[in-house]
């Protein structure tokens, strides 16, 4: 629980459009992205957003497509809020917050069509690539959502998979020496706007999250929204909702560039 003093500090700073760490309302904390840190993963990235630390790993294997999309690869996102990351996290299967985070990131990745799942079909209806994105929170100082989305995107951008072929007998064979990157169609960005008192701000730290009324998490691909999730126990007026969208929209380029920089995507 936060002290009254701390709450008052935050509210006072906000009243002059500042944050307690001197950020402006629309400033993101310092971002550090380290890719390829997990040799056993097919792709991986660790994202530090201020003191928030989260890691995403990508593993790929041959699986069976969903019956309604027989010619598309499968993408599965899972998130664990480990007790290592916060005194309030408990061991056990993912709770509603971890599940929501995974599903919001999943919708963002899927609807942005970042990965061209059609190119991940090997034998229609029978064999496709299955991409597992696993997110593990390591230190929770707020905005796990945006940090985890960024780690997932960076892990996918740097992931490689073996070349798959089909032999005479119709079996799938893998050439592990010829690894190639995933087919990428674009780079999405996920941005959360929090409402604290009557202010709208981005990249909330943990203390700000605790006193926030509501959140709007948006994923953009280019200048379009492809996923929105309103969260939190209080309401947003329709006008505030639209303002959140416009605040987020202005940050897309900055976040996409940070990921491109760290992953080298688009360099060649």
């Amino acid at each position: 629980m936060m002290s009254k003093v701390r709450r008052k500090q935050i509210m006072e700073a906000l009243s002059s459009n500042k944050r307690t760490d001197d950020r402006g309302l629309e400033d993101v904390r310092n971002i550090e992205i380290r890719c390829g840190i997990v040799p056993n993963a097919d792709g991986s990235a660790e994202v530090r957003l201020g003191k928030t630390l989260t890691i995403a790993g990508v593993k790929m294997n041959i699986g069976v497509p969903f019956p309604d999309t027989p010619d598309m690869g499968v993408l599965i996102v899972n998130a664990e809020f480990l007790p290592i990351a916060s005194p309030t996290f408990e061991p056990g299967p993912p709770d509603e917050n971890a599940i929501e985070l995974a599903r919001v990131i999943d919708r963002g990745l899927r609807r942005s069509e970042m990965v061209d799942l059609k190119q991940l079909c090997i034998i229609p209806g029978k064999a496709v690539w299955e991409i597992w994105v696993d997110i593990h929170a390591l230190n929770h100082d707020g905005n796990l959502m945006d940090a985890s989305a960024m780690a997932s995107v960076a892990a996918l951008l740097t992931a490689t998979l073996p070349k798959a072929a089909v032999n005479d007998k119709g079996e799938v064979t893998l050439d592990k020496s010829a690894r190639q990157k995933l087919p990428i169609k674009g780079v999405p960005a996920t941005i959360t706007v929090a409402k604290v008192g009557d202010k709208l701000l981005i990249d909330p730290c943990l203390d700000e999250e605790e006193i926030a009324d509501a959140f709007l998490t948006m994923t953009f691909i280019g200048d379009k929204t492809c996923s929105i999730q309103k969260r939190g126990e209080k309401a947003l007026s329709i006008e505030e909702t639209l303002r959140c969208v416009n605040i987020a929209r202005k940050k897309v380029e900055e976040l996409v560039n940070a990921v491109k920089e760290a992953t080298g995507y688009g360099k060649n």
Partner: protein
Amino acid sequence: MEAKNLALISPEGLRIDGRKPDEIRDIKMTVGVLENADGSAYVEQGNTKVYAAVYGPREVHPRHLASPDKAVIRCRYHMTPFSVEERKSPAPSRREIELSKVIREALTPAILLEQFPFTVIDVFVEIINADGSTRCASIIAASLALASAGIPMRDLVAACSVGKVNGVLVLDVTDTEDKHGEVDMPLAMMPNRNEVTLLQLDGVLSVEELEKAIAMVSKACRDIYERQKNALKAKYLEARKVN
């Protein structure tokens, strides 16, 4: 997941079930259908059929879940195994856990929680048949159940979905439109306060389309809101007749 190039809008501009884009399905709302609950409602919106029940305010077990400042809201959105095309396991899926959370958050802003410290208010929603927009029907039903349980509220919560199919914005998305269309966007609001309590977008919209969609669906919510008030009034009149 894929738009299958299915013709969801006819040359006449009508939808598969004959509706106009800005037309919602017939809704039947009945209040007070489950006697054990403190409040309950049944909502049938096209072939989407939902029971909601409210138990509480009541004591919390275990005790440490209680709050000294306000009532705690718990919500359980659950689908019967036979409510969907392929039988689903009765154990809660990840989707059901997420929807339970967003429905709870859609209802919470409307409830005067401070009046019932140390208690819990349980909201149970059971999907009997799913044909799209089940979370909206759940919110409509749960909101009626809360009101009929006599729980003081800032406003009723109304809800409706807006979709995009074959490039056209449409209200109250069916299962077929959800699966083969481009966008599903449920929204819940307190119409009298013009406040959004749930908003989820699943699909690509430009910011301009998004604004148009919000305007369209909030108008539909106002319409549903009137029907909710009528359903409550009907129940009240019936109760007076009986007593």
